[in-house]
């Protein structure tokens, strides 16, 4: 059993503030890559995903652990460090797993016409950021940008899921507002 008590924030107000600004910058500028490495959870959860969880999840946000992320160690780590209830996919505020484990994305909340914010945020664990696969346009992008994405996602703006992409200590984001086109 891994040491589930370790790997959290040692100075939560400052480390969470730093991590949030990284996440905010990533969401405001889709496709850009950022470094996020404060927290360390049991394998196979990446540092970036672990830090995001500590920054955003708490007792009010059900978390869904998909596939290989759904281990007793990670369950215990998430429970101890965030207090977040573990939930099924359709009830989750945050869902974590590989692209394959999270599929099909239809099972996650995409919000309603009146409340498009009532949607799941996906934290997609990548083995690595590959070569750029998609052209991105939309809010947050000056003209156009290119980025690596593991695939297409549901987006019927303003409904949709927002994605954080994580690999090791690297973080990138894809809000639902971004239009994507395969290169």
């Amino acid at each position: 059993m891994a040491d589930i008590l370790a790997g959290g924030f040692s100075n939560a107000p400052h480390q969470a503030a730093h991590a949030f600004r990284v996440a905010l910058d990533a969401m405001a500028r889709p496709g850009t890559r950022h470094c996020l490495e404060t927290a360390k959870a049991p394998a196979p959860l990446s540092q970036a995903a672990a830090t995001l969880l500590l920054t955003l999840a708490d007792t009010t946000t059900p978390v869904y652990l998909a596939g290989a992320c759904n281990t007793p160690d990670i369950q215990a780590w998430v429970r101890f460090h965030t207090g977040a209830p573990l939930a099924q996919a359709d009830a989750a505020a945050f869902a974590i797993g590989t692209w394959e484990a999270l599929a099909p994305l239809e099972r996650f909340a995409t919000g309603t016409a009146e409340y498009p914010d009532r949607s799941t945020t996906l934290i997609v664990e990548l083995a690595e950021f590959g070569n750029d696969t998609h052209r991105l346009t939309g809010p947050g992008i000056d003209g156009e940008a290119t980025a690596y994405l593991p695939g297409d996602r549901l987006a019927r703006f303003p409904l949709g899921v927002d994605l954080f992409l994580t690999s090791g200590a690297t973080l990138s984001a894809l809000p639902r507002s971004t239009k994507i086109e395969a290169l």
Binding site: A12, P13, H14, A16, A17, H18, F20, R21, A23, L24, D25, M27, A28, R29, T55, L56, A57, D58, T60, T61, A93, A113, E114, Y115, P116, D117, S119, T121, G138, P139, G140, I141, D142, G143, F157, P158, D162, P175, R176, S177
Partner: protein
């Protein structure tokens, strides 16, 4: 300083606001509900903006606070000293040096740059509220992008006054989808919202709403083909620095009709006057 958590709010509250901010950025100009807290200042003094700033601040930020463009008015001074006491952050009056700018009712004249965050204090976030008081109805109107009522309001302005009489809080359409209240900035500032390199965050404390404009977002002021939007200002130059391109305040100087026009952006004006 040690009597408070960093930036005053507790961590649970900051997380709640941060989640709302991320949704707000992902759905530009949609008003995200949030559980606004009671702050040590009255509603109407910028409690929404203060909560957004508190959730964003980190120790190495440089904060600028303006009230109607001025760094030295009551609201700006008290909010600035609030964050000096509770977050111990550096403060500045210089627009270019600031990483976060909290503002009441103005956008600085100096161009903003990438990486900067503007935080707006918003009294009434719902642009349709004075046309339709029911939240259930305005929410449905946003869901259906049913903004005919707003166009009728602007048309009635023209029918009554010969022009669109709205001079501040002039409604905008964001990315061709949501109509948004840009907060009570003069319409002179509306063009600065369009395609700005800075991230714009809006906090309404009493109304419990947060919304946002990511950088490089399309923001168009509502208008008609034959009555196009025009950013207006007083037809004078600044008495202190001589600027002809900045938004001016009219100051009454005596009881005999004397008046002068000066830049509302005190930082812009003093930098020009000094150089």
């Amino acid at each position: 300083m040690s009597d408070y958590n960093f930036a005053y709010l507790d961590e649970d509250t900051k997380r709640m606001i941060r989640r709302a901010l991320l949704k707000a950025v992902a759905i530009p100009s949609y008003q995200v509900p949030f559980a606004s807290r009671e702050m040590p200042m009255p509603y109407g003094w910028g409690t929404g903006g203060v909560q957004v700033t508190a959730a964003c601040l980190k120790a190495d930020d440089t904060l600028k606070v303006i009230d109607q463009g001025a760094d030295d008015t009551t609201n700006a001074v008290s909010i600035r000293s609030f964050f000096q006491r509770t977050a111990d952050v550096a403060v500045t009056e210089c627009t270019q040096e600031a990483s976060i700018i909290q503002t009441r009712h103005r956008i600085p004249e100096a161009p903003l740059h990438e990486g900067q965050i503007m935080v707006f204090q918003v009294p009434i976030p719902e642009p349709l509220r004075f046309l339709e008081p029911r939240e259930t109805e305005t929410r449905r109107m946003h869901a259906l992008a049913d903004y005919g009522l707003m166009q009728v309001k602007l048309y009635e302005d023209i029918a009554k006054h010969g022009e669109i009489a709205t001079a501040y809080a002039y409604p905008v359409k964001v990315e061709g989808r949501y109509v948004m209240d840009p907060s009570p900035i003069p319409k002179f500032d509306n063009p600065k919202l369009d395609n700005s390199p800075a991230l714009m965050l809006f906090g309404a404390g009493r109304e419990q709403r947060i919304y946002a404009l990511p950088p490089y977002t399309s923001v168009q002021s509502l208008d008609f083909e034959d009555f196009p939007f025009a950013a207006t200002k007083a037809d004078h130059s600044c008495t202190i620095c001589g600027a002809v391109d900045s938004y001016l305040d009219e100051i009454i100087t005596d009881d005999a009709g004397g008046r002068m026009f000066v830049c509302s952006d005190t930082s812009y004006c003093s930098e020009r006057a000094a150089s």
